[in-house]
Symmetry: C2
Subunit: 421 residues, 2 copies
C-alpha cells in the first residue's frame, strides 16, 4: 500500500525561465543564472520583483569542482539583490535542482515563506572533457567507481542488460536520439538545434567542399549506424546516445496557492512530488529498472491522486538514450520491456500519444547538471500554458505533465507533477 | 518592523547524537555518520528504528573536494538501511548542517513527512593542510579570494577592525580560547580535551624530559602571549585563535510535535529558526558586525516570540576567537563592543550568567564543517535535557538555548532556538 503524503498548503508555479544552454566560454554561473532569472521575471504575467521574494533555493551538483567556487547561495543572493534573504543550495547529483524544487515546495507548504525563487545551474565547459568526466564520476557509487565505471560505462551495462532481456538493439535507442534532435530544432534555447538529417547533410556538404569522397548514408538511421559518424563510447552507448557537457541555468517562482492569482491568471498547481533513494547498481537484482524512479513516481502519483495514464506528456532524465527508455517504463507510461517499442512506433514523438522530452531532452537541449531538474519544469510550464511556440504539443486540453530527474545511476530520483486547472 | 514567520505545524527534537570529533585516519564519512546515528538512536528514550524514518537530510560542505566522493545522500541512505527513503544534501558553506536542519523542519511542518533524520558530516583530515585551506577558501566570496584572503586572513582583518573600533586586544581574544579549552576538557567527544594550562605544563615537561631549557611561562596567558608557543597565522589571529581541521558527524531526529511523546517524555521544541544571506566583506560598511547574523537572529526571535535576554545559553560559530565575540553581540546577548569585555569578565563561562560554547566550541570540540550546525544542536539537546554530564550548566531551570552557524564570512548565517517545555 502506498502512503498518500499531503502538503498542508498548496503550492503554485507562477513563473519559469531558463538561460540558453550550451558551452559559453564567456559566461559563468552568475551570468547564466541572471539570464534565467530575467526570463523568469518576464514570464510572470502580473510582474514580480526581488523585494517580493522571501527565499532562494539553488540546485547545483558541483560548481566547486567545475568552477572552483562554492557557497553559491550567498553569491547569487547578492547578485539578484536578494540580500539578506536566505539562500540554500541542494545537491543530489544530477537531480539536484529537482530536489531544490521540493525544498522550495516544503518551505512554502510549511507556512514559513510565501514566495520562493528556486532554480539550478552548472558551469561545466571551462574544464576539459576528462576533468568533467572525473567530476561527474564522483556522483557514482563508490563500488561502481571502484569497478572502473564512468557514466557511459554504467549506462552501457544497463543497455546491454536491457537488450539481453527484451531484445532491443542499438537501432531502437537511436530512435530516441532522432526524436530528441527533431524536438530540439524547435527549441531556441537548446544546445543542439539540428536534426540528425541536418547533421548528416552537413557532413556530406563538408566532404563535397573539400573534394573528399562523399559518405554514402542512405538516411539518418544509416548515419547513426556508421561507426565513423557515431563511434561507440562504451558499447552500446555511442556518441549520439550521450548528453553533452553544458553550461546553463533555469529557475521558477513558487508561491502559496492562495496567492497565485496575484501573479498570474494561469498558474500551475504542484500536484505531486516524490523523491527516493536507490542502492548502487552493483547491488541491483535487475539493471533494467530503477527502484528509486518507481518509488518516487508512486509517491508523486499518490499525492496527486493520479495514475500514470493521467499524465499527458513528460520530461524524463535522458542523460543517455537507454535512460529515457527505462524511465518511461518505471514511471508507468509503458509496461516493462515495451518502452523501446513505443519509441520505435513513434508514440513518444511530439505528435504521438505520449510526448516525451519535447524540449529536446538532456541529449539535445543540454545537460548542465544542476540546472536540469528546473529546466524540465520550465518545459512543463511552457507546454501546459500553451506557450511552447513551434514545439507546442497540439492539444488544447493539456492539463497534466510530469518531470523526472535522476542522480547518479538511480541513487536519487525525483518526480514532479504539474497540473493546469 | 520584523515580520513574524510561523510554521503550520510544530516540530520537536526527540533524539540527538554525534560521533567523536578529531582527525581519524581510519574512519571515513560513512563510518562517522553511522557513529553519530547510533548515538542518536541511543538517545531516543522510547526507541526508534530506520523503518520509522521518512526522509534524510544531510549538511555537507564539500566532501566531493575533501574525499573525492559526492552524492552522499544515496550512500548514507543505503548505509543506514533507509533505501528507498529520500535523502537530500544541503550546502551553505560552514553553515551547511544548520541549513539542513531548517529543511528538515520545513519538510515536517509542510505535513509531507512526520519523522526526519537530519545531520551533517565532513571528512577533512585525509587532505594536507594546504589542500584543506584551499578547499575551505572556495566558500569565501570571489572578491575576498581575489584579494588573496584565506579565512584566517579575513578574520584577522575583522579582528583588526574590532580592535581599532572598540579597544580590544589579542589578550581579550585569548580569553575565548581559555574558556573553550576549559569546556572541552569536560566533553568526551571533543577533539582537544586539554586546558591551556595542561598544554603548557605538557610542553614544560617535554622540555624537561629532553634536557632542554625550561620555558618560563608564568601562567596560561603568558603562554598564549609567547609567539613561539602561539605563533601568528594571520595577525591578530594566532594558532590558538583558530579552529582545527576535523572529521566528524552529528545528527538529530525531528518529528511532528504531536508525535513527540511517542519517542520521549522530554522532547525539545523548535521554537525559532532564522536564516539570512550577507554580502561579501569587501562591500561591508562595518567589519565588526555581520548583517546575516543579525537578520537570521531577528527572524528566529520573532518566530519564537522571544528576546535575546530569554536565551539562557548558546553555541555560536567560533571558527575563530573573534567570530565568537562578533556573534554574541550580533545575537543581542551583549551590546556592540561589549562582547569582549563580557568574555574577559567571565560572563560567558559555563558558570557565568550567559554560557557560550559549553561544548568547547568549534575551537576545541572541533569543526568538521558540514557537521558543525548539527553538533551545536546536539549540545543544546544535552544541556536542555540536563544530560551534559560534568559540563552541565548548573541551572535546573534551563529552558531556552540558541545555536548560531555561519558560512563563509557571513555569506550565510542561521540561528535555531530550542526550548524545553
Amino acid at each position: 500500500m502506498i502512503r498518500q503524503r499531503k502538503l498542508g498548503r498548496g503550492v503554485a508555479v507562477v513563473g519559469a525561465g531558463m538561460s540558453r544552454f550550451g558551452m559559453f566560454s564567456d559566461l559563468d554561473a552568475k551570468d547564466l543564472f541572471i539570464e534565467a532569472y530575467r526570463a523568469m521575471l518576464a514570464s510572470v504575467d502580473k510582474g514580480v520583483g526581488p523585494e517580493d521574494i522571501d527565499a532562494l533555493y539553488l540546485g547545483n551538483f558541483s560548481n566547486d569542482f567545475f568552477a572552483e567556487q562554492s557557497h553559491w547561495g550567498a553569491i547569487l543572493s547578492d547578485a539578484l539583490g536578494l540580500v539578506p534573504k536566505p539562500a540554500s543550495r541542494v545537491e543530489g547529483a544530477c537531480a539536484s535542482s529537482a530536489l531544490a524544487v521540493r525544498e522550495a515546495v516544503f518551505a512554502i507548504a510549511s507556512g514559513f515563506y510565501d514566495i520562493v525563487l528556486v532554480g539550478g545551474f552548472e558551469d561545466m565547459s571551462k574544464r576539459t572533457t576528462e576533468e568533467v568526466a572525473a567530476g561527474l564520476a564522483l556522483a557514482a557509487s563508490p563500488d561502481e567507481r571502484a569497478a572502473g565505471f564512468t557514466f557511459p560505462g554504467v549506462f552501457g551495462a544497463v543497455a546491454t542488460a536491457y537488450f539481453q532481456r527484451y531484445g532491443a538493439t542499438c537501432a531502437d535507442l537511436w530512435e530516441v536520439t532522432i526524436k530528441s534532435h527533431q524536438n530540439a530544432v524547435l527549441n531556441p534555447k537548446a544546445q543542439y538545434r539540428k536534426s540528425i538529417q541536418e547533421i548528416m547533410d552537413g557532413k556530406v556538404e563538408k566532404s563535397r567542399s573539400r573534394g573528399l569522397p562523399l559518405p554514402q548514408w542512405q538516411d539518418e538511421r544509416a548515419f547513426l549506424a556508421d561507426a565513423r559518424a557515431n563511434p561507440a563510447i562504451a558499447w552500446p552507448m555511442h556518441l549520439f546516445d550521450c548528453s553533452p557537457i553544458s553550461d546553463g541555468a533555469a529557475c521558477l517562482l513558487l508561491v502559496g496557492e492562495e496567492l497565485a492569482r496575484s501573479f498570474t491568471d494561469d498558474p500551475l498547481h504542484v500536484a505531486g512530488i516524490g523523491q527516493a533513494s536507490g542502492r548502487s547498481l552493483s547491488q541491483a537484482d535487475d539493471l533494467t529498472s530503477l527502484e528509486a524512479s518507481r518509488s518516487a513516481a508512486r509517491e508523486a502519483y499518490a499525492m496527486a491522486g493520479l495514475q500514470p495514464s493521467d499524465v499527458q506528456f513528460a520530461e524524463v532524465h535522458d542523460c543517455f538514450s537507454i535512460a529515457e527508455i527505462l524511465h518511461i517504463e518505471d514511471l508507468g507510461f509503458f509496461p516493462a520491456g515495451e518502452g523501446y517499442r513505443a519509441v520505435t512506433r513513434g508514440e513518444t514523438r511530439r505528435d504521438g500519444p505520449m510526448p516525451i522530452n519535447t524540449s529536446g531532452g538532456l541529449k539535445c537541449k543540454g545537460h548542465p547538471v544542476g540546472a536540469t531538474g528546473s529546466a524540465q519544469l520550465v518545459e512543463l510550464w511552457e507546454q501546459l500554458r500553451q506557450s511552447a511556440g513551434p514545439r507546442q504539443i497540439e492539444n488544447p486540453d493539456l492539463r497534466v505533465g510530469a518531470a523526472h530527474s535522476m542522480g547518479g545511476t538511480g541513487g536519487t530520483c525525483a518526480v514532479t507533477i504539474l497540473e493546469r486547472r
